[in-house]
């Protein structure tokens, strides 16, 4: 029961985040509900993949699968909302941005610059590289995952506004 609540909570906050970030990019009014729905499904998918009884999946792989789901849903909903598929993909992806890894990268960079001793420097440099690379590959997998379906289903994606 708690697990189900956590999934719903995850989807709910992802939906609010998607609506807010969508508003920054001035989407058409009818796009908001689709952004919220796609973000909720995408983020909940990643939550289930990383938190389950069979051992949590790696965050990079889970992000890729979740963003692939987001990409497919954007292509599916774009003709119904009569909006370009890209309108939904950015707000839906943003809640999955690895903010903590990005923050830890900046934090490690500062610690690197403020420690001259070799052992300490090497440790923080390791943290910088680990967090930076993880963050970079999560973002890359997300963006590629959401973009590939738009290219695979070009006919649907680019006729959505017809």
């Amino acid at each position: 029961m708690t697990y189900l609540f956590n999934i719903l909570q995850d989807g709910f906050f992802a939906a609010i985040a998607a609506i807010g970030f969508a508003s920054i990019s001035n989407p058409p009014r009818q796009a908001y509900k689709y952004c919220a729905l796609i973000a909720a499904i995408g983020h909940a998918t990643r939550y289930v993949l990383t938190h389950n009884a069979w051992g949590g999946m790696n965050l990079i792989g889970a992000s890729f699968i979740a963003s692939l789901a987001i990409g497919l849903l954007t292509v599916f909903f774009a003709p119904r909302a009569k909006c370009p598929a890209e309108t939904f993909s950015f707000p839906a992806l943003l809640p999955m941005i690895p903010g903590m890894y990005a923050y830890r990268t900046v934090e490690a960079l500062l610690l690197c610059l403020t420690h001259q001793e070799e052992a300490a420097f090497n440790h923080y440099f390791y943290l910088l590289a680990y967090n930076g690379l993880t963050c970079m590959f999560i973002v890359l997998s997300m963006v590629v995952g959401a973009t590939v379906p738009i290219f695979l289903f070009k006919n649907t994606s680019f006729k959505a506004t017809r």
């Binding site: 995850d10 906050f13 992802a14 609010i16 985040a17 998607a18 609506i19 807010g20 970030f21 508003s23 920054i24 990019s25 001035n26 989407p27 058409p28 796009a31 983020h43 009569k82 909006c83 370009p84 890209e86 309108t87 993909s89 950015f90 992806l93 943003l94 809640p95 941005i97 903010g99 903590m100 990005a102 923050y103 830890r104 900046v106 934090e107 960079l109 500062l110 610690l111 973002v139 890359l140 963006v143 590629v144 959401a146 973009t147 590939v148 738009i150 290219f151 680019f158 006729k159 959505a160 506004t161 017809r162």
Partner: protein, 273 residues
């Protein structure tokens, strides 16, 4: 009689000809259209498809080069006897999916023969006059979104409240600075700095159990996500120059927000260990 016929021919053009623009008219319209589409954050593949779709309706063939801040279009008539070229700067309109959607719909209306050239030009003028969403609503929604973001990262109630305050302050500053015409990179630096200083409240006043999540999340509303996504889209479509340019623009903004975050961390003397 001959004279009359000639006059009649001049006065009454063949059916449908009134709707067909000359290559010059088409080129000027299409270049303006493409520069607005590029400016509002459309991908290169969409710009190409939309322009080609409309030109096809007018029996013309467009050749275009999309550069990071310019668009060069040459429009040929079908028998390649006449052409016109135009080079325009992109319109810095800011990201707007509303304009993107309306312009895409316009291209289909033209392609399907529902809109004549004159009507398309009139509609285009109306579309580009569309005002962006209410800034107060965007300010509030973006702040709530960043607060939800904090929750998604595992932040507690105190962290969410701190992030909400930091984003309200930072996003308002961003709107004010951009309205004043300040440099966008400097704006990102200042907003990240202010938001991170407010985001450090959890550390300074020992509020809540997740101060690091509040601090980390406080600047995430500034991440330029659309340029990153468009960059990959252009890369997949083979528009490497545009892709690289969009990526570099986004990377510079990310570097500015990271510098602002560093400044905030140093000012507040955050001790991690």
């Amino acid at each position: 009689m001959t004279t009359t016929t000639k006059n009649n021919e001049l006065n009454t053009p063949p059916a449908g000809a009134a709707e067909m623009p000359s290559p010059k008219e088409a080129c000027i319209f299409l270049s303006d259209y493409a520069s607005w589409l590029l400016g509002c954050g459309a991908t290169c593949i969409r710009i190409e498809k939309n322009v080609r779709r409309m030109a096809g309706r007018w029996n013309m063939e467009p050749e275009m080069t999309i550069l990071p801040s310019h668009i060069h279009i040459t429009v040929w008539n079908r028998d390649r006897s006449h052409s016109y070229s135009n080079n325009v700067r992109l319109h810095h309109t800011g990201i707007s999916f509303d304009i993107n959607t309306r312009l895409s719909k316009l291209s289909w209306a033209v392609a399907d023969g529902k809109t004549s050239f004159a009507e398309a030009r009139r509609e285009f003028e109306e579309i580009v006059r569309v005002r962006p969403a209410n800034p107060w609503m965007v300010w509030l929604l973006a702040s709530l979104a960043n607060m939800s973001f904090c929750r998604l990262f595992g932040g507690d109630f105190a962290a969410m409240l701190i992030v909400l305050c930091g984003t309200l302050a930072g996003y308002k500053l961003k709107q004010v600075m951009l309205e004043d015409g300040r440099d966008v990179r400097f704006t990102f630096f200042c907003c990240a700095f202010f938001s991170s200083v407010i985001g450090a409240a959890g550390y300074v006043f020992h509020w809540g159990d997740t101060p690091e999540i509040a601090l980390a999340t406080s600047v995430l509303y500034l991440i330029p996500g659309i340029p990153y996504i468009n960059s990959v889209s252009d890369l997949l479509d083979g528009h490497y120059i545009c892709s690289f340019s969009r990526f570099m623009n986004a990377a510079v903004l990310t570097a500015c927000l990271s510098a602002g975050l560093c400044g905030g961390l140093l000012l507040m003397n955050i001790q991690w260990l």
